[in-house]
């Protein structure tokens, strides 16, 4: 029973995955925030003992298969930002939501750099608007993601 409640974490990640592949009109696609990264940042901040690098690694592989990208592209990006987060979460956790958002923006930007860098290797360029647009939207919705996931965590009695 005590293990069962951690299923909630997997459920939130599944919802993030659905949001990542949900069809959007063409113009909106490039502004789609990286839901997977947002949810992973939250859990690794809230439950760093349970949700860490291996979690990021496997979510990344699942994301890569779902998006049809090179196997390892989003994995590398996710592992990198969660590795950074693992070292900083104690200082970030106590900040106000607005300040956290800026930190999340930086993490999402690093994520974007890695993804765009690999795309560049494959000969595909990332439009500038897409490069900054998605992390920016991610920053704006971070407070809501944080509050929703915190409520879920409290309801599920995860600590």
């Amino acid at each position: 029973m005590s293990q069962l409640k951690y299923l909630v974490i997997y459920l939130t990640l599944l919802v993030a995955l659905v949001l990542m592949i949900l069809p959007l009109p063409d113009w909106a696609q490039i502004y789609r925030p990286n839901w997977m990264a947002l949810v992973m940042i939250y859990w690794s901040m809230a439950l760093p003992k349970r949700v860490g690098l291996w979690f990021a690694f496997f979510s990344g592989i699942i994301l890569d298969t779902s998006l049809g990208t090179l196997l390892g592209q989003h994995t590398l990006a996710l592992v990198l930002i969660i590795a950074i987060n693992v070292n900083f979460y104690q200082r970030i956790r106590v900040l106000a939501l607005a300040q956290q958002s800026i930190y999340v923006f930086v993490l999402l930007l690093i994520n974007q750099v890695v993804v765009a860098w690999v795309e560049g290797f494959l000969g595909r360029s990332t439009p500038l608007l897409a490069f900054f647009g998605a992390p920016f939207i991610g920053m704006l919705i971070w407070p809501w993601v944080f509050v929703v996931l915190r409520d879920i965590r409290r309801k599920a009695l995860l600590r």
């Binding site: 599944l14 592949i21 690098l53 049809g68 090179l70 196997l71 592992v79 690999v118 494959l122 360029s125």
Partner: protein, 272 residues
């Protein structure tokens, strides 16, 4: 607070996972070994993909349900007329096909006349917005295999690159990583058409400046390389730019297939 050993442990773990990710990317890019990992994860996730494509499918269904009676009658009338025209043309084609077969027999050539096809529909799933990949609802259980060509009513769309049991991923001819061997119908010149990341344009690079090419020339598959069956329409030439220094021309062509709007596609199974 965390101890130094803990911090060091997590850094080593991070470096290890980063190295594994990079290794995976290299292997995935150059070899086929990770295909099985991809296939199995995709299979496990297929319920999620169907869930995601459900609203679009439901929307279509509702749209069909509420189409008015008169609209249906009109459409029916139109389709009947179109059917009559197509039938009339088909009679001609049948005669031509027979004649063709007879002539080929005379020449002793063994060209296949028709290919087997699998009818498939697009799944409404967004993938990486910078690459030109689409997903269809037929997979290995229907006989789809990696490398099969995919067409719509107007021309070549792309080829299959990943196959799961119930679905398959198709790379469009417009993807920057894709190239297709083509031939000009009028002059017979052979070349290779590269994708440029836009569904409206292909590029043929480094053609000799003396090549006989005009705007509106039609391009068909040449069948070289063995991936695409020969003689399917690919694109129409829209622009020719000349590099006077190097003596080459680059040709731009618009794909015939409706890469961004076709919903029903055909997967071509090459005959053994």
């Amino acid at each position: 607070m965390k101890t130094i050993i803990e911090v060091r442990g997590s850094s080593i773990q991070a470096l290890f996972l980063i190295a594994v990710s990079i290794a995976m990317m290299v292997v995935d890019h150059r070899f086929q070994h990770l295909e099985i990992v991809r296939t199995n994860i995709s299979l496990a996730l297929s319920p999620v993909r169907y869930l995601v494509s459900l609203p679009a499918t439901g929307g279509n269904w509702l749209g069909d349900w509420f189409t008015s009676h008169t609209e249906l009658l009109n459409e029916n009338e139109l389709l009947k007329a179109e059917g009559r025209i197509l039938n009339a043309r088909l009679q001609k084609f049948e005669i031509l096909a027979e004649e063709n077969a007879r002539l080929r027999n005379l020449l002793g050539s063994s060209r296949k006349i028709a290919d087997d096809v699998i009818v498939a529909e697009l799944l409404s799933v967004d993938q990486n917005p910078y690459s030109q990949l689409i997903e269809i609802n037929r997979g290995s259980s229907d006989g789809v295999e990696i490398g099969h060509a995919v067409i719509d009513d107007f021309g070549i769309m792309g080829q299959v690159i990943h196959v799961n049991a119930q679905s398959a991923t198709i790379i469009l001819i417009s993807d920057p990583e894709h190239a297709i061997p083509v031939q000009f119908i009028r002059s017979g010149t052979r070349s290779v058409a590269f994708g440029r990341g836009s569904t409206r344009q292909l590029e043929l690079r480094y053609l000799p400046a003396t090549a006989d090419i005009k705007i509106d020339d039609e391009l068909v598959t040449s069948g070289l390389g063995g991936r695409f069956p020969p003689d399917y329409p690919v694109a129409t030439v829209t622009a020719i730019t000349e590099d006077r220094v190097l003596g080459f021309v680059s040709v731009f062509a618009q794909p015939k297939a409706r890469l961004d709007s076709s919903r029903e596609v055909l997967v071509i199974k090459p005959r053994q």
